[in-house]
């Protein structure tokens, strides 16, 4: 009788031990999986955050794409000239002499914007535009200056020429690089 009770107690103890091992294994397994799940959730949250920021900036992105034409859509000088569309502003330029003076990436606060600045010149130095009158010349330049994808600097209007003329030191087009 004593022996049987003994072995019963051993069996009971063993079962408790086994259950405990199983329990601990279960908890360990759960912890491992749950840690992995938490990691994954953290990553997911960062994706969600990113998406939210992106969505918040989607308007900007939209504006960006509407403001600037894609550089990839400009295969040659002719297209560039037609994009400039000087005739609409009653301006003329000797486009046969057109040269690409420089080609640089625009940065802001050290961040490349993905914007290419293509600066043009007629002949060696400036980009020379002409119009029928000084009024028209200035009106045309103003319209050009209002274009977001046009960068103008160092404008010089010469007053005593037979044909009203302006030399634009920096006459650049801004195009999306990507």
């Amino acid at each position: 009788m004593a022996k049987s009770t003994h072995s019963n107690a051993i069996v009971l103890l063993l079962s408790v031990a086994l259950a405990a091992v199983l329990g601990i294994a279960g908890i360990q397994g759960y912890k491992t999986m749950s840690d992995k799940a938490k990691e994954q959730t953290a990553i997911t949250e960062s994706v969600v955050r990113w998406k939210r920021s992106y969505m918040a900036l989607a308007g900007t992105q939209d504006r960006w794409e509407k403001t600037y034409k894609a550089a990839s859509g400009i295969p040659d000088m002719l297209t560039l000239v037609s994009l400039l569309n000087l005739a609409t502003y009653n301006l003329r330029a000797d486009t046969d002499q057109l040269v690409l003076k420089s080609d640089e990436q625009v940065t802001a606060n050290g961040e490349a914007l993905g914007l290419t600045k293509l600066c043009l010149g007629t002949g060696q130095e400036s980009f020379i535009v002409e119009a029928d009158s000084y009024g028209r010349l200035l009106a045309g330049i103003e319209q050009l200056a209002r274009r977001s994808d046009v960068f103008l600097d160092n404008i010089s209007v010469v007053g005593d020429k037979a044909v009203p003329q302006a030399r634009i030191g920096e006459m650049c087009l801004l195009l999306r690089s990507e």
């Binding site: 019963n8 069996v11 259950a19 397994g29 759960y30 992106y54 993905g114 200035l138 330049i141 007053g159």
Partner: protein, 394 residues
Amino acid sequence: MINKKKQRAPQWSYVANSHQLKVGAVRNKALLVGSAVFVSTRDLRANGYSRMTPRNGIGPFKALISKQTPRLFVASNDQVTNAAPKSTRFALAIDAYLQWGMRSKGKVILIGGYEDSNETHLDILVFENGCFVDYENKALPGRSAMHFQDAFAALVDDFSSKWAGFEVHQAAPLTPFNQAGPSIKYVDERIFKGLSFRPLSMHSTSQLRELAVPGAIVVMGVVFCMGALGKGWSDYHSANASFNSEIADPVVKGQGGVDSRLIETIQQRRFYLDQPRRQVSLVEKSRNLVAGISKIQGMRIVEIKLPAPSVGVIGPTIGVPVPAGPDASGANRKPDVWLRVAVPLQGSISILEQGKALMTLISANTGMDVRLARQGWTDDGNRRVFTLEGFIHG
């Protein structure tokens, strides 16, 4: 040979000796009673008996919490069981008595057993609050013997002194001891209904029952483990799934994945787009300037530069040096417009006076602050050329 009461059809055979099995049992069910089973509260060995798993005298739950489990040791008579055809299945009457006792309440004595014409074999079990307390077996003469009554009366006396206050029950297959008076209650054959008949080799119900508690503990462990793992796995799975659904969003996919630099770039683009553009105001102002100047009689514009060339740059148009040196006129500010105008010579008025009058006029007509550049005048025979610097407000 068999105590068939007023039952419609016997469900099993009561078997106390090998003869009863030679002919086979009813429905192959042999209910071992009497001397076919050796019962004791001690683990004794007896020749010709095969020990079976000890029976617990209390329920499995009570067994867990009680310090000592009361047990009943049982062994089957080989002579009897060997006589049985192979297909015979067995059950023990003592199991039914035990189960009945463990369901009883208060202090109870159950007298079971078996009788034939020669002998009355009694199994006496004592229970208290559903716990088995004691067992005794007694052999009395056959019911028809002269001294049966005396022996039985002596037995009852003996018990009532030893187990005072216990309620006495008597169970089938014994016939009721009517003579003993109303204090003995009778439990009929239905007590055996719950028994399951099994081949002798498989007669280890109680062994299974003994393993039930440890088994249940292990099963609980397994269930808990599986549950925990399952929960962990499903958590991980759902985390993965939500990640995949987020990453599959066309917004994310369209940008070639999550790129924190892209956000930064777009932010900078926004600043860039929102930046005021100086070129617009410059050109606007210069138009005003030209319009304002053209109202002034006799004045002609030689050249306008937007913005004014940086300090140190040589003005190329006419060949006159452009004012050089920082803070030429005492102001730190760089002029916005560089302007060269020509007016007819007016001999009577000094250059400075003429220039001053001009600047006042220009300023009034354009709303621009104007100053004369250093050495900003020259005569070329028939006209006087002034070089002016303008400051645009706002």
